[in-house]
């Protein structure tokens, strides 16, 4: 048996001594992207299954469109192609909320809990770089999950329904798809990250965001009923949409120029099709929620605690 070769290094790296780094350094401008990329890598594996459920939400209008090829329009009723996209969009909102709950709410809270900010902010990045990085990670995941199935439906329509008039709507629908995919991504990422920055526990942040989402829906529903009782039917629908889920659904109706429907039939209230909510209050609420979320996050990301005395 040969004696072990003492000249061979014990580890994989031959030179185990320490030396300084003299390689290239990148500009600080895109340092936020490092945080975004790392966050996406870390959290995407937790939510890819929900991404499949978002795709499932767009399968329903896909099936409806497929059936439309066989059933005469006088039976199913005339519907614009954009309304099918709205059906998919509104069906995807719940799953996107769950994704935001799972990746947005814990994003900064997880770092707070693990004291990761102590090592992250001790590097040459600003608090703004960190915040943009975290926001962008949640945004890109939500945007991608919302956009990809909608684009798939778009391609399906482009390949199958040109003879039924889709080619006339095709160019107009594409920017609508992009706008409708941006909307939940922007709102959820801003509010969820804002809630996250205030917490030191990912579970608490998730619970708070979930509670906020549901509570706002309940409050807007109650407020809408009160408005109806006082004879304000014309504004009741708008009031009903003054919540996170409401603004996403309501602005979506305006983007796709569609009415809320169930199995292809428009939803009705007092015998009339449910009116579309006013755009301006919903846009104002969405903007306020985003601004509030980002402001909360920016003010609660604390520089590192260096030494505990």
């Amino acid at each position: 048996m040969n004696p072990p070769d003492e000249a061979q290094p014990k580890g994989l790296i031959a030179d185990l001594s320490y030396r300084g780094y003299e390689g290239p350094l990148l500009t600080r401008r895109f340092r936020w992207w490092v945080i975004t990329r790392n966050e996406i890598k870390l959290v995407f594996r937790n939510v890819w299954l929900l991404g499949l459920l978002v795709i499932f939400a767009y399968l329903i209008p896909g099936v409806q469109l497929y059936l439309r090829s066989f059933i005469p329009p006088e039976i199913v009723g005339e519907r614009s192609f954009a309304s099918y996209f709205y059906t998919g969009y509104s069906g995807s909102l719940f799953w996107l909320f769950l994704v935001a709950l799972l990746i947005g709410a814990p994003s900064i809270a997880g770092d707070n809990r693990a004291n990761a900010l102590q090592i992250l902010l001790a590097k040459p990045i600003t608090k703004l770089d960190y915040l943009i990085g975290k926001l962008a990670a949640v945004f890109f995941i939500l945007f991608g999950m919302s956009l990809i199935p909608a684009l798939a439906l778009y391609l399906f329509c482009l390949g199958s329904f040109n003879d039924q008039g889709f080619s006339k709507e095709a160019l107009g629908i594409l920017p609508r798809i992009i706008a409708a995919s941006l909307l939940p991504a922007v709102v959820h990422s801003s509010v969820a990250v804002g809630v996250s920055a205030r917490s030191k526990s990912p579970m608490v942040a998730t619970a708070v965001y979930g509670a906020l989402y549901i509570a706002l829906s309940i409050v807007s529903q109650i407020a809408s009923n009160i408005v109806v009782d006082r004879g304000g039917q014309e504004v009741a629908t708008t009031v009903m949409h003054l919540s996170i889920s409401g603004v996403l659904s309501g602005i979506g109706q305006h983007i796709y120029n569609a009415q809320p429907s169930f199995l292809g039939q428009p939803l009705r209230i007092w015998g009339e099709p449910l009116p579309r909510p006013e755009l301006l209050p919903m846009v104002a609420l969405a903007a306020a929620l985003c601004a509030l979320g980002i402001t909360l996050a920016a003010s609660h990301i604390q520089a590192v605690e260096v030494v505990r005395d």
Binding site: G11, I13, G20, L25, L26, V34, A116, K123, E305, V306
Partner: protein, 304 residues
């Protein structure tokens, strides 16, 4: 040359002043930062990293202003915090490479460098394990690795041997000693463990209540202008203390029959003085030897 300095620095948390009119220099090499709780060590390091804006005064780290050039400072400085800090779900390689990328290193360089520093810090075998499964010792090494990955010129190490077993502590101290001597990295060690400071540091800064109480090389601080001698008597003898005083010396510490006697610098015939005092007081000397102050005594004297 100083790697960091502050001049008349005052720092406050709201109405509470944490550091008042502090002037000090951190020299090149390995410097120990000592002080009791609330001494201002945390606040000083926060200010040096640019996290805390001074109320008044000025300061610089590696020639960069702490008020206006904090990002440049952090580009050249590494921090090993006291508390556990890791990102769950990451392994040591990805976390260290991530830290390198945040410092501006391209991904490929950061990854290669992460392997190198993890190997250097003794984490080569476990580098692909999730960091949440690490032992305390491995977590300490990982914190050191992420602080070193971008090749800093100055390292702040906060309680680097916290929670380590004797073997791990020994290895960590050897690492610190190795980094700070001959590798071009200056190190500031904040620790409550005086033996660790004594093992690793060339210079010491002692802070208390936001003021500098003592500063200098370990050898200088341990030296005194007087000559110290430890004397062991057969049994305690108060008369011996009186006789020593008459001879111009003084007893600075007494424990049972052991006395630490302080003679003026350059005193001659110390043995003769001790034997004369023993003879006069009826004491019996079992032995005596010259001694030096320990760092603990220097520390206690500075903060008392």
């Amino acid at each position: 040359m100083a790697v960091a300095e502050v001049r008349n620095l005052t720092l406050a948390y709201g109405p509470r002043t944490a550091i008042s009119d502090l002037t000090l220099e951190i020299p090149e090499g390995c410097t120990g930062l000592l002080g009791p709780n609330g001494a201002g060590k945390t606040t000083l390091i926060k200010a040096l990293l640019g996290f805390l804006k001074p109320v008044s005064g000025s300061g610089s780290v590696l020639g960069f202003d702490i008020r206006t050039e904090s990002l440049k400072i952090r580009q050249r400085v590494g921090l090993m915090p006291e508390v556990d800090c890791h990102i769950p779900g990451m392994n040591a390689v990805s976390l260290t490479a991530y830290a390198g990328e945040l410092a501006g290193m391209p991904f490929a360089h950061a990854l290669r460098r992460a392997h190198e520093v993890l190997e250097y810090c003794g984490l080569g075998e476990v580098r692909y394990r999730k960091v949440e499964t690490y032992s305390t010792g491995a977590k300490q090494r990982l914190k050191l690795a992420q602080a070193l990955v971008h090749g800093p010129s100055l390292l702040f190490l906060d309680e680097p041997t916290n929670g380590l077993d004797p073997e791990g502590r020994e290895e960590m101290l050897n690492l610190i000693r190795d980094i700070s001597h001959g590798k071009g990295v200056n190190v500031v060690v904040s620790s409550h463990l005086l033996p660790d400071i004594e093992r690793t540091c060339d210079h010491v800064l002692v802070l208390k209540d936001g003021t500098l109480r003592a500063q200098g090389s370990v050898a200088e601080l341990k030296n005194t202008s007087r000559t110290l001698v430890d004397v062991e008597l057969r049994e305690p003898c108060p008369a011996f203390v009186e006789e020593i005083s008459k001879a111009g010396a003084s007893v600075v510490h007494c424990s049972g029959s052991s006395y630490r006697v302080s003679f003026p610098a350059g005193a001659n015939s110390i043995g003769a003085v001790l034997f004369r005092a023993a003879k006069s007081s009826g004491a019996q000397i079992r032995g005596f030897r010259p001694t030096k102050r320990t760092l603990e005594e220097v520390f206690l004297e500075a903060v008392s």
